[in-house]
């Protein structure tokens, strides 16, 4: 057998071996192998350093380039903050009132989420898969399928965990689907659909399986329905941008603009559980 033929046989054997490896190490596993773990643990601090350098450079360029814009934005944000402050006081009053009324009616208080802050240290650059890497792993209590959020809304869920880092599958990844409902119409005639990464509009989501009679408007807020068991109910996903019939004309579908800017994620929170409810014994 000549050398070229021998190389070709080795090549084919490797192809088959790798296909088997893909099959056996796909999304189903929650933990990484020991070798992966070892290398990722060694690289995690370097990854954090590169991420830090990236953000610092990005912020510096932005300050220089958009100086006037940032001043105007700062002024606008200060005004917004004053309005938010008033709303916060009003919200606290309503929360107290809500708590009292719930107690009177014997309702259980909905517990707030326990959040673990995490830094985004890398973003998947391959364009085929939408994932980010965060600097928290199972040593910090992170586990597969935990929801990841920002102050603006839902980001995704934990896909793979190692000791000091974790990979988060973003909502925009085509492999991700979330049961969702439109907040405005949640009373009789609830609109529950499936939200997934839009395959042809980068950075957008699409909501499928919307009943034909549902009266939706652009701008309506879409929240998680809490049906899949991964995400709690009520996490903001985004707002409706376009509404139309699906390809068969039987149901409706909509393009959803995510509440979170997935391209500029710097800090996120992992939902590690629920805090003890207010007014309950701990």
């Amino acid at each position: 057998m000549d050398q070229t033929a021998r190389r070709f046989i080795i090549f084919l054997s490797l192809v088959m071996l790798l296909i088997a490896a893909i099959y056996f190490t796909g999304d189903l596993r929650s933990r990484r192998t020991f070798a992966e773990e070892l290398l990722l643990t060694a690289i995690a601090p370097v990854q954090g350093f590169f991420s830090e350098v990236g953000w610092r450079t990005y912020h510096f360029i932005r300050v220089v380039r958009d100086h006037d814009l940032l001043l105007a934005e700062n002024k606008m944000l200060q005004q917004e903050l004053a309005v938010r402050d008033q709303l916060r006081h009003r919200f606290m009053e309503l929360q107290k009132e809500n708590f009292r009324l719930r107690q009177m009616l014997g309702f259980k208080e909905q517990a707030p989420f326990a959040l673990l802050p995490a830094q985004v240290v890398a973003r998947n650059p391959t364009h085929w898969f939408e994932t980010i890497t965060i600097d928290r792993g199972y040593a910090d209590g992170v586990a597969k399928d935990m929801a990841v959020v920002t102050a603006r809304g839902l980001v995704g869920n934990v896909l793979k965990v190692s000791g000091s880092s974790a990979e988060v599958l973003l909502l925009t990844d085509p492999r991700r689907a979330v049961s969702a409902l439109v907040q405005r119409t949640r009373e009789p005639g609830t609109v529950v659909g499936i939200v997934e990464g839009h395959p042809e509009e980068k950075g957008y989501l699409r909501m499928l399986n919307i009943p034909p009679g549902a009266k939706l408007r652009p701008g309506d807020t879409v929240i998680s329905a809490g049906l899949g068991g991964v995400f709690a109910k009520g996490l903001i996903i985004g707002s409706l941008a376009e509404i139309g019939a699906d390809q068969f004309g039987l149901l409706q579908q909509a393009v959803v603009k995510p509440a979170v800017d997935f391209n500029r994620l710097e800090e996120v929170f992992v939902v590690t559980g629920q805090m003890p409810a207010q007014g309950q014994d701990t």
Partner: protein
């Protein structure tokens, strides 16, 4: 060009691995941040194509596999996903490089163009096979492949010249056996 004959293969592959890790770190942080979700070049693929073009199919296959497996570790959906795509691409580039006069950069440009398409097609095929559809082929061809190829063609010549020079000056053989 001497290739690896008579030189230290361990040192060469270790250097390729370290270079791959550096590229992956830059791609995942600096580049991902500045491209902000837009289509960005696959620097690692450009490196693999250029090295396979210099070294031939045997070494190309191994370095493609190593670089791809490292990419799987950082960003892959499964072990072997990018490993397979980069190994096959590098093997084919190595085979094609036998027929091309290496001092003519136009040959490299043609190789980069075809290799980018082959690599993206393998990724698309594996994605469909293991995770189902992620968009129409023509959309992906238009949005991903064409933009990416333009970047790769622009990067190919400087990356090739840099790696060629590094090879000649023994950059890949600095580590002991």
């Amino acid at each position: 060009m001497k290739g690896l004959n008579g030189k230290k293969p361990f040192s060469f592959y270790l250097s390729v691995c370290l270079l791959s890790i550096l590229i992956l770190l830059i791609e995942g942080s600096l580049l991902a941040l500045f491209f902000g979700g837009a289509v960005m070049p696959d620097l690692l693929l450009v490196m693999v194509i250029c090295l396979a073009f210099i070294q031939g199919e045997q070494k190309g296959m191994v370095l493609g596999l190593l670089a791809g497996l490292l990419q799987d570790l950082f960003f892959g959906p499964a072990i072997g996903f990018f490993g397979l795509a980069k190994m096959v691409t590098a093997y084919l580039v190595g085979l094609a490089s036998r027929e091309i006069y290496k001092d003519q950069l136009i040959g490299l440009m043609v190789i980069v163009f075809i290799a980018t398409f082959v690599h993206e097609f393998i990724i698309l095929f594996l994605g469909l096979l293991f995770w189902g559809g992620t968009g129409s082929f023509f959309y992906l061809l238009d949005i991903l492949f064409l933009e990416k190829t333009v970047y790769h063609l622009l990067l190919a010549v400087p990356v090739y010249l840099l790696l060629h020079r590094a090879e000649r000056h023994g950059f890949f053989y600095i580590f002991p056996k």
